[in-house]
């Protein structure tokens, strides 16, 4: 049975917002740049509060930023 995957659109949304840097996004949501890198590459699943903060930075719903393929 394939393992469920958490995908995200963070990189695309960053570029759409005047090419926001990973550092700028990290400071906006209160994590390190390395955490943003891990989230974008799908190697780290953010906590719910962090996922909501990220979605709010882009002015989108959480489901528009993250998708879960079971």
């Amino acid at each position: 049975m394939p393992e469920p995957v958490l995908n995200n659109q963070i990189r695309r949304l960053r570029f759409e917002r005047a090419e926001m840097t990973q550092q700028a996004l990290a400071e906006a949501v209160g994590v390190t740049r390395q955490t943003i890198i891990s989230i974008e590459s799908g190697k780290y699943a953010p906590s719910l509060p962090l996922a909501i903060r990220i979605a709010r930075v882009f002015g989108r719903a959480v489901e528009e930023v993250f998708s879960y393929d079971a």
Binding site: A26, V31, T32, Q34, T35, K43
Partner: protein
């Protein structure tokens, strides 16, 4: 490299140096006197100098906390296995009709602490590399 990662690397280097020095001193001064090599572990107290000042305002976030907890689980698990193995080894070596020397207990304490530090810090570095 984040602060916790630098700290873990420092811990691995210091602990490895202590262990290598201990093993190198055994043929020269014997097992009991070679335990003085574990005094090198005192350099672990210099960790704040290694972490140093960072330009980043945030040093420790939720991902660091998760890695820290996973590394504690791994390090503690391996520590208990080695501790139990050490107890059995001490029993088989000394049997139940001889006295266990205090220096043997001290050696066990040093080795299990060293094992925990190496496993905990090593696990932390591995988890950071994987993520």
């Amino acid at each position: 490299m984040v602060a916790q990662q630098r700290h873990a690397l420092f811990r691995v280097l210091v602990t490895s140096a202590a262990l290598i020095l201990f093993l190198g001193l055994i043929p020269r001064v014997g097992v009991w006197r070679a335990q003085s090599a574990f005094g090198v572990l005192g350099f672990l107290g210099a960790a704040p100098l290694v972490i140093g000042k960072s330009r980043a305002r945030l040093l420790f976030d939720e991902r660091d906390r998760q890695i820290h907890l996973k590394a504690i689980q791994i390090g503690t698990g391996i520590f208990w296995v080695l501790f139990a193995a050490g107890m059995w080894a001490a029993y088989w070596h000394f049997h139940n009709d001889r006295v266990v020397p205090v220096t043997g207990i001290a050696l066990l304490a040093w080795l299990t602490w060293t094992a925990f530090e190496l496993c905990n810090a090593g696990a932390m570095l591995f988890l950071y590399r994987r993520s």
